[in-house]
Structure formats: structure tokens, C-alpha cells
Amino acid sequence: MTILITLIGTLLFAVLAPVAGCLLAGLDRVISARMQGRVGPPILQPYYDVRKLLGKERVSVNSVEGTYVACALVFACLAGGIFYTGGNLLLCVFVITLSSLFFIIAAYSSRSPYAEVGAARETLQVMSYEPMVLLMAVGFFMAAGSFDVSAVFSLDAPIVTTVWLVFLGLLFILTIKLRKSPFDLSMSHHAHQEIVRGVTTEMSGPTLALVEIMHWCETVLFMGWVGMFFVWGSPLSVLLAVVVALAVYFLEIWIDNNFARVKWQFMLKSAWAVALVAGGVNLAVLMFI
């Protein structure tokens, strides 16, 4: 039964998440533009871009890249389906990592110097944020009493009240996961970076469109992770979660526009230090009190 629900949820997520993600991406572009003193594109611009990409000729440096990217998208949707149907948070975390891996392999498979640099950096980014993500799942378990996301709806108080330090840790690595500056080492949408496209250098047309859609899905999933910290038994809490998620998204955009890209050493060390302090200390406190 759970399997069926998860699969249906995955299909629904695959339809709905791109819509929400697309709007978020449009919002990102508008807000970023305003922060930079520009008017910016219409809010549906990401949609227009992807529609145009989908209509372009299939051009690729090898025959496998598109397949890997499609896999990455499928697993991103599966992860979203697991999460939004209230499934196991750890499984969700593992499946989204699988999605990242396929994205990385897609870049490696091109054997293009820029894409390979991007892929290596993306691997490093995964290594940087992974400990905090796992500790977040453990923190969730300790606060909610279960790894099932649906458990939040039977709580008396949102889990952020007990694992707020873990929440802060999540906010830190969220910047890496969303590939926002200062942690946009593998690929970026700021034209002034030393390597701009990195991972996606060799992806074009429909393949690039899939990558964009995957990012939308990822964004919606990660915002779900943020929101889950603020949900409890009360139905109104979902509204609160949405508001918080939007606020966090705005914060990410603000960070993106105000910090310069850092070196990998700083990213790795700071992300691991945050995981150790925010995750480790919070969990230790929960265990021993």
C-alpha cells in the first residue's frame, strides 16, 4: 500500500513540483534583479526559457548524457514523492543523493574539461553537505519520534522548538544544495564567476531543460524540508510552514546576491564544522537530557 501511495505521490510531484518550482525560480529572478537595481524579467521567464529549450534540436557530446540527466530527474521526483506523501525521511535523503550522483556522472561522461571541473566540485559539494543532511534526518527522528515525515502532523509542537540548532545547520547547507553564491562552485547563474556553467557546460536543448526542471523539483523538495520544521497537529501550521519556506527562500536569494564565491577549502571546513556543532551538539543535548 505504501508503495502505491509513494508512486502516485511521485507522479503528482512530477506534475505539480515543476509548476511551483518554476514560479519560485521566476521569483528568484525578479527579486535578484530588484536587488541589483534592475527591473528583471516577467515571473514566468523560467517557463519560457524551458519551453524554448525543449523545442531545440537534440545536440549532445555523447549518447549517454541525456539518459543520466533523465535518471537524475526521475529520482528527484521519487525523492519528492516520498517526502510529500509523508514517507521515510532517510529514504528521501538517500534517493535525492542518488539523483545528485546521476547528475554528476552526466557531467563526467562528457569528458569536457569545464564539465569535469564542475563535476568534481559538485562531488565535493555533496561531501560537504551530506553530514548535515544525515544529522538533520536523525534530529527529525529524535524530535518527532519517527523517521516518517507524516509523524509531524501528530505533534503538539513543531520540531523546530527542540531541534532549532539543526534547523540553523540546514539553513547553512541549503545554500550549498541550492548552488547559491558563495557556494556555487560547481555551477552558477552569475556571469562574473571563474567557471560559470561547470557541470552543465555540455548540456543543451532538451537535456538542459530537464536539468532546469530537476532544479525546480529539488527546490520544492528542499523548501519542504524547511517547512517540515514548522508543522504540527494544527492544520493552520501548514500555512506557517509555507510562509517560513518563502522567507527562507528570500534569505537564500539575499545571500546569493551579497556574497562572493569562496574556495572549496572554506566550503568543506565550514560546512563540516556547522554539521559538527549544529548537528552534533543538538543531538547530544537531546540524548542526554
Partner: protein
């Protein structure tokens, strides 16, 4: 019971035949036939006893006891002979010490103690029998083709020592069966010592100076473990009053203080055999041996004997804090640090070795936690690690003979140069670290069991270790996946026997990942229920099935989806618009000359280098083990 005897004796017969067979054809026939017979017999044994509780067989024989005593002497004799020949003092001293202890034990203590039920099976030993019988003999078949190439690379006129090689491989299998089926701890000890000696001979097989040195390092470390085992036996005989492993475990659970020192000593033996830090260097050194040896040592034998013993002890660990803490910490620290060090390695076999040690560390930590959930995780870690690691070693061995290197940087473009092999290798790598494949499901269960026990240190270690694991596997995977130009396909000359073994491992891997929920229900859970009385399973069946679906998807993509001709127009990669020969990745440089764009992987020597990290682990774990011995030795008399 006849089946157990057959599995123990038959490989010995095969070994004898292999010693006398000097023709390639005869050897091929014997190895193929014996491997198939052993595999079929062990599968039959598993099938006949599927889901069994512990079954003890009434079997005691003074003759076997005498043989074991004699074998102990012969083993030490061989070691002493080598120690004298190569003037290695430590090996000699430790060998003599062990001989003294084991003779004292056998003649003075064990003589009056009989173990009426000499043999047993339970679901854990069945799992081990499956691993030894199917994967171990698969590796023996693989060795046929590999050793032909190996012999061809030897200098002209070199003596053909392959008969010895294959004989030792089969003796190894037999000794492993002895370890997993013996209820009489004295017999188990003999099997234990035979595996030590066999791996010593296999590691030193090439007789180069490096091989001899590494073989001696192995024997010295494992003799230490053997001494630990002998001490445990003496304590069992004098204090606990039994040599039956089953009774020992029962007594241990009800009276942990009585067996504390014995368990610490046995766990120490297990830790040395499982190559945990500070003993990790023997397994790293073992890679000088021909690749089938590495595959055998890493996947189905030797190190698995170590973790098998630890997992067996885990019910006692649950109630006995001193050995539990020691095993948990040693395992966890090893997992973390060896995962880090794997990042800094570019030699494929060394990466595999570090990953083996790290995963054994995880199994060790699970055994130390000792809850039903942790044992569930440990058993799956053992199973999947055995399959995936043997697949990877076999692939690396074959690649080495065809591309002339075992360096990951030289595996560029393997996806085109050895298309089938690269896919198998990618499958093996994926199984080692990524969901939904088996190892990750087991790690998932490990995490849950740590959380249940509130082991904050272990949780944090697992989180960071897993992140490091992602790094070193993903970058290797990336190297394999690269496609550029149309390099020559060099895998056409791979031996049939090698393909057969690789295919066997790949099929086993996919089947065991996809059927994980069934394996859990019929092979792993029965053991846990029979030992703990309750069922502990950290990952629900529904989630396991979701994983199975994802496995099927990934396998289909890897073997049917990628590599097909696509309709897309193929273009060159982006080389800043100044490319000369796009397939060769060359471009026009600033002096109008030609440069090649190459990308090397990230090794981060400064952060994760061996020199920085290894001493930390060695120091920590040595202190932990010394402390555990002291506490057990002082604490036991006080608590009794």
C-alpha cells in the same frame, strides 16, 4: 551433518588433486568441477536449512582433536621455518609464544574437556557458507584465467607455482567452513590459524621483497590475534568451564562478568583478523598478491572470519560494556578514518582496500552495539560487501591485465575501452555507496540502530564517514563514465573464466539487491529471532521494496539505457573555441602550439593524506584496546 563434513573435506580433496595436476587443462577441469560442486553443495545446504534455528550436531572425535593439535604444531612449524629462512625475529618469537600457549591449552586443559556437539548450523553460518561457497569458489574460477595471464607475465623459465596457488585457495575455503560450522572452539581456532597461514602464503606468493615483507607483517599481526584467541581458549577452559561456542554464548549472556576477559580477547582476535586500525596495514600490504588473492581475502574469507566472530559475540556485547565499548569505538574510528584516507588514494586496489577496512569497521561497530537491529545491519553489510567487493576486485584485476595499470587515473574512458567490464565495475561501485543498493540499505539500518541506542558519537561518525565514502566512489565512477573519441576496445581477449566469475558476481549482486526483503525474511531474521527472541528490523519492508524498484531502474539504465546510439546530433566538447582535435581534447594554446586538456581527480592529500590521518587512528585504537584489556583483567576478579 554429512553436508557440513562434505563442505569441509571436499575442498581439501580438490586441493590435493590440484597439487598433483600440472597441466593447464587438468587444472581447469578440476577447478571448474570443484567450484561448481562446492557452490551447489553450499546452496543446497542453505536451501535445506532455510530459516533454521541453531541446530547442534552430536559429533566429537578424539581423532579430530589430535589432528587439530598436530595442525597447530605444523602451522607454527611452517611459520618458524619461514621466520628462520627470512630472518624475521618477531614472527619467530610470536609463533613460539602461540605454540606454547596452544600446546599448554591442548595438552593440559582441553584434554579432559569434551564437546559433545562439535558442529552446528544456524542462519548466520548458513549466510557465511553461502558467501564462502558461492563467492569464494567463483573467485577460484576467476583465478584460472587470471593466473594464465600472470604466468605469461612471469620471466622466461620461471617455475610454474600455480598448483600451490590453487591448492592454497581451496584449503582456505575449507578452513573457512571449519570456522563457521565448528561449535568446538578448539577446532574453530585451528581453522582460524589455517586461514592466517594460507593468507601468509598467498600474500608472499610472488616472493618479491615487498611481498615477503608484507606477508610477514600479516603473519605478525595475525599471530597477535591468534595469541588473543589462545588466551580466550585458556580462560574458557579454566574459568568458564566449556569449550562449546554455543554454551559459551549462553553463559556469557547470563553472566557477562565471568566471560568478560575471554570476550575481550576473542574480540581482539576478531579485530586483528578484520584488519581494524591499528592493524589495517596488513590488509593494505596484502594487495601485492595476485588479484584473486585480494578478492578472496577481502570478500569471502579471512577478514570475514574476523567479523563473523564479532557478530557471533554481539549478544554478549549487548550486556557487557567493556568489550562492547572497545569493539564499537575501534570499529567506528576505523570506519571514519579509513573512509577519509580512501579519498587520497589513486591506486584502485588501495582504494578498495581502504573501503574494505572502513566497511569492516562499520560491521565491527554494529557488532559492538549488539542490538537485534544492529546485527541485522551487520549481516547485510557482510553479504553485500562480499558480493560487491569481489565483483570490484575481479574487475580491477581484469582491467589491470588489459590496460596495464591499476591506477584510477589510467581508467579514463574505460566505458569505451572495456564497455562490458566498465559497466560491471560501475554496478559494483554503485552497490558500495549509493541508495537503493544493498550496502546503503545496510548503512541505513546501521544508522537507525545507532539512533535507537542513543550512540551520538557513532551517529556523527557515520554521517561524516558516509560523506567521505560518497566522494571517493563518485570520483572513481566519474573516471569510468567518461566517453571521448572512439578508443580501441581492449576487452576482447578477456578469458571466459574471468567473464563467468564477473557475471556471477554481477547477477548475485543485482539479485540480492532486488530480493533484499526476501533475504531478510528467510536468512537474516531467523538468526536474529533465534538469538534474541525478538525481531529487530530497522528498515520497513515497504521501504525495502521501494528500494528494489529503484535498483531495477538503475540496472536497466546501466545495461540497456546507456551506450545505445541516440538520435541526437553529436558535437565536440567546448574548448573555448580554440580546439584543434576535439576527440583528443587538444586545443591551440597561447603560443599557437597544441595543448591537451586533461583533468585529474581530486585527492586532497593535504586534508585526507595517510600521513596525517593514520597515526591518529593507530594511537586512539591502541589506547582503547589496551584500556579494555586492563579494565577487563582488573574488573573481572572484582565483579566475580
Amino acid at each position: 551433518m554429512a553436508m557440513l563434513g562434505f563442505l569441509i573435506v571436499f575442498p581439501l580433496v580438490a586441493a590435493l588433486l590440484l597439487m598433483v595436476a600440472r597441466q593447464d587443462k587438468a587444472r581447469d577441469a578440476i577447478v571448474w568441477a570443484s567450484a561448481i560442486i562446492i557452490a551447489v553443495a553450499s546452496v543446497a545446504l542453505v536451501a535445506m536449512n532455510l530459516g533454521t534455528q541453531t541446530v547442534l550436531f552430536e559429533f566429537s572425535s578424539p581423532v579430530v582433536d589430535t589432528i587439530c593439535t598436530l595442525l597447530s604444531c605444523v602451522i607454527v612449524g611452517v611459520i618458524l621455518a619461514f621466520a628462520v629462512k627470512y630472518k624475521n625475529v618477531w614472527a619467530g618469537v610470536l609463533g613460539l609464544a602461540q605454540l606454547a600457549l596452544s600446546l599448554y591449552f591442548e595438552l593440559a586443559l582441553a584434554h579432559g574437556m569434551s564437546v559433545p556437539y562439535g558442529l552446528y548450523v544456524d542462519s548466520l553460518s548458513l549466510l557465511m557458507a553461502f558467501i564462502i561457497g558461492v563467492i569464494g569458489s567463483g573467485i577460484c574460477v576467476y583465478a584460472l584465467g587470471y593466473m594464465k595471464d600472470f604466468q605469461a607475465h612471469e620471466p622466461e623459465g620461471a617455475r610454474d607455482r600455480r598448483p600451490t596457488f590453487f591448492a592454497i585457495m581451496f584449503v582456505f575455503l575449507s578452513a573457512m567452513f571449519v570456522i563457521v560450522f565448528s561449535n568446538n572452539m578448539a577446532w574453530m581456532f585451528t581453522g582460524w590459524e589455517i586461514t592466517t597461514l594460507c593468507s601468509f602464503l598467498l600474500i608472499g606468493f610472488t616472493k618479491t621483497e615487498e611481498a615477503i615483507n608484507n606477508a610477514f607483517r600479516q603473519i605478525i599481526m595475525n599471530l597477535l590475534g591468534g595469541i588473543g584467541f589462545a588466551v580466550a581458549l585458556i580462560i574458557c577452559a579454566t574459568q568458564v568451564g566449556t569449550l562449546s561456542f554455543y554454551e559459551f554464548l549462553v553463559i556469557g549472556v547470563s553472566n557477562p562478568a565471568l566471560v568478560m576477559l575471554a570476550v575481550v580477547a576473542l574480540a581482539f582476535a576478531g579485530i586483528t583478523k578484520a584488519a581494524q586500525m591499528p592493524f589495517q596495514t596488513w590488509l593494505l600490504g596484502a594487495m601485492v598478491a595476485p588479484t584473486p588473492t585480494s578478492a578472496l581475502l577481502h570478500s569471502s574469507t579471512m577478514v570475514k572470519a574476523g567479523v563473523f566472530l564479532l557478530v557471533k559475540l554481539s549478544p554478549i556485547m549487548l550486556v557487557c560494556p567493556v568489550p562492547s565499548l572497545m569493539v564499537m569505538l575501534v570499529g567506528a574510528i576505523t570506519f571514519l578514518l579509513c573512509s577519509f584516507m580512501a579519498i587520497s588514494q589513486s591506486n584502485a586496489k588501495r582504494v578498495l582496500a581502504y573501503s574494505t577496512i572502513a566497511n569492516l569497521g562499520l560491521i565491527t561497530a554494529c557488532a559492538g552495539v549488539g542490538t537485534p537491529e544492529a546485527v541485522w545491519a551487520a549481516e547485510f553489510l557482510i553479504l553485500f560487501h562480499a558480493i560487491a567487493k569481489s565483483l570490484l576486485f575481479l574487475c580491477v584485476g581484469t582491467a589491470e591485465h588489459h590496460i596495464g595499470s591499476r591506477d584510477i587515473e589510467d581508467m579514463d574512458l574505460l566505458f569505451e575501452r572495456m564497455p562490458r567490464l566498465a559497466r560491471y565495475m560501475m554496478l559494483g561501485i554503485m552497490c558500495m555507496f549509493i541508495a537503493p543498493f544493498g550496502m546503503l540499505v545496510a548503512k541505513w539500518a546501521t544508522l537507525v540502530s545507532f539512533v535507537d541506542m542513543n550512540q551520538i558519537a557513532l551517529i556523527v561518525i557515520l554521517a561524516f564517514g558516509s560523506a567521505a565514502t560518497f566522494m571517493f566512489w563518485a570520483k572513481w565512477l566519474g573516471k569510468l563514465a567518461g566517453i571521448a573519441g572512439e578508443p580501441e576496445n581492449v576487452e576482447l581477449t578477456v578469458h571466459k573464466s574471468e567473464w563467468a566469475a564477473v557475471l556471477l558476481m554481477a547477477v548475485l549482486l543485482v539479485a540480492s539487491c532486488a530480493l533484499l526483503p526476501l533475504i531478510s525474511a528467510y536468512m537474516v531474521e531467523p538468526y536474529i529471532v533465534s538469538i534474541y527472541g525478538t525481531l529487530g528490523q530497522a528498515v520497513s519492508a515497504d521501504n525495502l521494496w521501494i528500494g528494489s524498484i529503484a535498483v531495477a531502474l538503475v540496472v536497466i539504465v546501466l545495461f540497456a539505457g546507456v551506450g545505445r546510439a541516440s538520435k541526437a546530433r553529436t558535437v565536440g566538447v567546448y574548448l573555448s573555441g580554440v580546439s584543434r582535435d576535439n576527440a583528443g581534447r587538444t586545443f591551440q594554446n597561447a603560443l599557437s602550439g597544441e595543448s591537451t586538456a586533461t583533468v585529474r581527480n581530486w585527492y586532497m592529500e593535504g586534508v585526507f593524506g595517510e600521513k596525517r590521518i593514520a597515526p591518529v587512528g593507530v594511537a586512539f585504537n591502541t589506547i582503547i584496546m589496551v584500556a579494555a584489556f586492563v579494565m577487563a583483567a582488573i574488573g573481572m576478579p572484582m565483579m566475580l
